[in-house]
Symmetry: C2
Subunit: 140 residues, 2 copies
DNA sequence: GTGTATGCAAAGAGTTTGCAGCACT
DNA sequence: AGTGCTGCAAACTCTTTGCATACAC
């Protein structure tokens, strides 16, 4: 995957902050990273990218549909690579782990609910909160 | 409904801010109000309740399960009366209107998805975004 | 009277913006 | 060479907290 090219294809210049941020997402597949996470990861590599720049880059990538922005809890936004396939999330309230799932039956029912109310569906978010298998077995 | 009593039953004193805030929710059934909304509504009645107090009261009511706190978009939290029955939401991205729905098939599938992954379900949020019937007909 | 709740002021966290100089194309 | 991008500083929004006074019980 040619990351600079992918960036240029969005009409953006392939600058160091943009390349490294996008690489980070490819290096952490399935991870949901916040602006702060990214800032720290870059700092660890001794790359000096300031937080406002991280926000700007993330916002541009989200606008370009390279990333998807989620706000699971209200405190902070997290981003993940847009692999093209929609999915919903399972979040562990103990360890913060985020898993993904897709259930066609639920998707169909959602469309039915919307149609029944003459509601033109654009997007949806479904998030299940609870204890992941590991945390659940540790608790009891 | 004796509002002061309901408040005292939570172990809280029936003060003016608490009584008026809870009354507001009863006066606006089905509405989802933010701290700012409430502050303005109270200001209109010439009741001087400062924003931090509104936040404190809302937080206490949410802790007492009188209210439910939602964070549909990340910008601000909104609250609604807890009528005891779970439901999901349809939000119009044009006019901001919030409707509620419940679909047993979706609820069942969610439990199945969680169980299949040995995930101990605590809560979930499902929100459909799109155009409500009115806005949809106005657009085209 | 006692202890809790409020008003006020200020702090905090996450995020956004203005601007001047630097870097990608 | 020119325009877009970044760093820096500061602002902004929503929310929380500390403290002294005021009120509910």
């Amino acid at each position: 995957m040619d990351i600079p090219k992918q960036i240029r294809d969005c009409g953006l210049r392939a600058t160091l902050p943009r390349v490294r941020v996008l690489q980070l997402f490819h290096e952490h597949p399935g991870k949901h990273l916040s602006a702060d996470d990214i800032s720290h990861l870059l700092a660890n590599e001794k790359i000096n990218v300031i937080l406002p720049t991280v926000y700007r880059v993330l916002m541009q990538f989200a606008d370009a549909n390279i990333l998807i922005r989620h706000t699971f809890d209200a405190e902070r936004a997290v981003f993940e690579l847009n692999e093209g396939s929609h999915h919903d999330h399972l979040i562990c309230t103990k360890c913060g782990r985020v898993d993904e799932f897709i259930d066609e039956a639920i998707e169909r029912r959602q469309k039915a609910v919307a149609q029944q109310r003459r509601f033109v569906l654009q997007t949806h978010t479904l998030t299940l909160y609870g204890l992941c298998a590991q945390c659940a077995s540790r608790v009891r």
